[in-house]
Each structure stands twice: as C-alpha cells, then as structure tokens.
Symmetry: C2
DNA sequence: ACGGTCGTTGCAGATAGCGCAACGCACCAG
DNA sequence: CTGGTGCGTTGCGCTATCTGCAACGACCGT
C-alpha cells in the first residue's frame, strides 16, 4: 500500500475529531512538519480539508458532496424509500434502512414522522452491531466462517442488561435470526427502545439490506410493536421484489 | 503537492459518478493498472472505497461517517438549529442554513415541515451561487477584490428569465444586498419558488452564515413571503448574538 | 480447448517524497 | 526597541518509495 496516501488519509479521521493545526497533525502522524504541510495542501486542493481563519485545518465541504453522491448511487435506497415512507405513514414510528459493509452496519435511510429532529442524526453512523435488529439480520446472512471470524473480533459493550454479552451468545442469536427470517432488539441498545426488523434480499437470495421499525416503550409496548411484524415483513418483501427485478416497478392499474 | 495523494484523491470524485472497475479507474487517471490498484487498495484500507460483489469499486462507508463528523464540528449549525426549528414552527415554510467555503456556497442545515421528504436531499450540495438569496449574502461580505475575482470566474446559468445574467448584474446585486442587509431570490432559480434570507454574523462582524425561508408561489405570494422578513432577520440576529458570544445561551428566568 | 479480458504479483529503475535546516513572520516580555 | 519563542513556509540533497513493465492466473464466452 502506498505510504504517502496512507498518511494523507490518516489525517481525515484525525481532523474529524476537531480542528487541528499543522504541528498537531505532524505530531500525530509521526512525520516532519514539512511533510504534513504537503499532505494537507494536497487534501486542501481536493477540498477535503478546509483552512479556517485561525489557520487551523478542519474537514472540508467536498466531503459532504462526495458522501451525498455516494448515497445517491445506492440504488437500493432509491427503491426502498417510498416503501419506508408508506410504512411510516401507516404505523407512525421511525423506520430505518441499513446495509452491511466492511465489518460495519450503517443506516442509509431513516424516516421519522413525529419531530423535525436533526435529520442526518444517525444516517451514516455505524450501528451498534452486536445488538441492533438490522445488524443481526445482515450478519446472520454471512457465511459460517465469516460470521465466526467477525463475532470473535467484535466488542460486546453492555449498553443495557439485555445487550448481547459475548461472541457465543451473539452467534446463537444469529442462528436463531437466520432461522426465523426476522429479528428484534428489545431494549438491548437503549433500555426503553424496541425494534422489529426484516431482511431485504437481492436476486441471488442473499440479504442485501435490512429495515426496521423502532419505537420507545412509552409509546407502544414490545408486544404491541411485535404485532407490526407482518407489516414490516410485507414491506421488506415488496422492496426485495422490486430490487431483485422480480416485481415490475409500475403497479398495474385495475 | 504530492503526486501520489493527488492521484488517489482524484479517484473519489470519479467514483462518485458511479461504480467503476480497475481498468476504467486506471484509464481515467492516466496511470498503469498496477498503480491504480495500489491506490485503490490504500483507499480501501481507509474505508473510503468499497469493493462490491462484482469487483467494481464505489465510494465507501467511512465517507459518510467522516462527512457526518465534519457536520457535527460546525458549531454554528449546533447553535442555529433550534432557532431554525422555531422559525419553521411559526411560519411553516422550509428554512435553510448555508455557509461559504472555497468558492462554493452550501446548505448545512434544513428544516422542512410538510413532507417527510428525503431529508438529506440537498444538504451538502453546492447551491446555485449566482441566484440563491443566501449565496448573495455570503458573497456580498467578501472583500471587493475577492468579490470581483469570483464574479468573473462564475458561470451564469439562466435557470429562469429572472436569473442573474452576468457578472456585472451580479456585482450590482451584491452591492445592493450588502447595503440593505438582507436578500431575496424571487423566482431566480425555480420559477415558482421565492426566498428571503438574512445574514448571521460572528464576533468580528463578518458574515459567518446565512439563513433563508423558501416557499412556492402556490402557497404564498412573493409579497406575503416578504412580510416574514422581520421575523427572519430577528432569528438571524438571535443566532448571531449567540454565535458571537454576546448573548448568554441560557435565557434568564423572569 | 482456446483466445480474450481482467485483476494481481515481483522487480529494477528513477521519480517523487522525505526530513533537515534555515527563513520569515507575528507575538510577547523585558 | 530588542531579543526570544512558536508558528508556518521554503529549498535542497538523499534515498526510500512509487511507478510501469511484463508475466501470471482466473474467469468467461466462443
């Protein structure tokens, strides 16, 4: 791998923590200031870092544009979105769409009806992989060896008393999820939040994405939320059909 | 500037257009395949590029995470957001927050009340710089020389009959905006959409951001929208006060 | 079975990046 | 006013690092 590029890219997560000046960047990279300067200049030239008035560097605007374009190229989001909206309109709860990528699970879409909450709040942020219902579905579909390897190298933070405690428990849960074709997270991430999730499959039958409905205890009990399962599964299946090309996109008029 | 890094970063916008295979990347970079491979591998190692099932490359997940973190470091967004929400609740229209950076104006926040529209729709995407009300405010605050230089090198696309047609007209408009301390876009970008905008200033009095309220003709006429101007300016001033540290963040209880 | 395409690897040569040291500048204290 | 310190910046010589080549292997369609 390319040393220079490697160093340059290491600057990005570093700046993500907050603005930094040349010296700090050079130190944390373990290179001479002049080297750091050249790297920063190159990043700057591509708009990935921005030099603010006090001469310190921070992440730049092009990053948004790139992330945005990357989003738009995820055709599954395109297809799924109207379905998610419809489900949200019918049940009123938060609806998420997530994919697995490179040992991470991340939300790529979200519909939230009630509040004009910060919209981008969670989109793009890695999901609590050991407990989230969508994560279980996505990981359950990996091959045996991949699943095992991944389960071993994960951390199992105890968000709540009901969080998945270790690799063994996680693998058991994945087997169960794989078996039944849907998943839940009942207070495993936030004590008062429950989710039901269903898989979205591509033409090859593999799980391409997962969607979930989440609601806090105070609005509906876990049991009540579970009654939505058939609806969630139907929505997921509809998306699967469209995504895999089985269902024509246009509805046939009566 | 660093050639290697330069080449590597050039891959990102290229992939933003859509997935590409090794050969395509190498061709468009004008380098040998083996070189492109090494660069892609390095990008991949940092999660900026993802290799999909068909071996083609596309932009990766880390990009979202980075863009997201970059967002969160924009403290002006943090401060402004509740004000934007409040304004939105009171008038019901779409509210935008934008900043100027590196010859571009981009939205960094947006509150839209009516529909559960695709939330990230426009955030992060460059704004139509020659016509948008927020863009006029942000550019009007640049120094004379900067303004002139920028105005010259811009394109002036005629989105509608009322779009700013050329550099001279644009500079006149900027002078006017600078003078009056607020700006409008009356059908200059989309025939049926009008905006009113006001500047947000930092401690040094310079314009740090701009906010606007937008609404389509069919909902309110341009004249009606203009009656909101005082409210928009008050909101912007409130944000300015808080951002520049003049106003204590906590309200003093009566 | 065979040619074509595509991704991958090892290598030798030379380019391009590296760290050093010195400079300019702003700020501060005496 | 002057000497000192802490920045970012520059030019340069050395060599580590990247490059392009050529050959390999996998896959696919004919």
């Amino acid at each position: 791998m390319s040393q220079t590029v490697d160093r340059a890219l290491s600057i990005l997560p570093l700046l993500a923590e907050g603005p930094a000046d040349l010296g700090q960047v050079a130190d944390r990279l373990g290179v001479h200031k002049s080297t750091a300067l050249r790297l920063l200049r190159t990043l700057h030239g591509h708009g990935l870092v921005y030099r603010q008035a006090d001469q310190r560097y921070r992440l730049g605007a092009r990053l948004f544009a790139l992330a945005q374009e990357a989003m738009e190229n995820l055709d599954i989001r395109e297809i799924a979105h109207p379905h998610l909206v419809r489900l949200n309109e019918s049940c009123g709860h938060t609806v998420h769409l997530a994919v697995y990528e490179e040992h991470e699970v991340l939300y790529i879409d979200k519909v939230e009806s009630r509040y004009p909450v910060r919209m981008y709040s969670r989109i793009g942020k890695p999901v609590a992989i050991t407990v989230a219902a969508v994560a279980k579905l996505l990981l359950a579909d990996l091959s045996d060896t991949e699943r095992r390897a991944l389960a071993e190298q994960l951390d199992y933070p105890l968000y709540t008393a009901r969080s998945t405690p270790n690799a063994a428990a996680f693998l058991r849960e994945l087997d169960k999820v794989r078996e039944q074709g849907w998943a839940t997270d009942l207070g495993g991430h936030e004590e008062s939040i429950n989710c039901v999730a269903a898989p979205i499959r591509g033409a090859d039958g593999r799980v391409a994405a997962a969607m979930s409905v989440s609601a806090p205890n105070v609005v509906v009990t876990a049991d009540e939320l579970l009654t939505l399962l058939p609806q969630v599964r139907r929505t997921a299946d509809a998306i699967s059909g469209e995504y895999s090309g089985r269902t024509p996109v246009k509805e046939t008029p009566a």
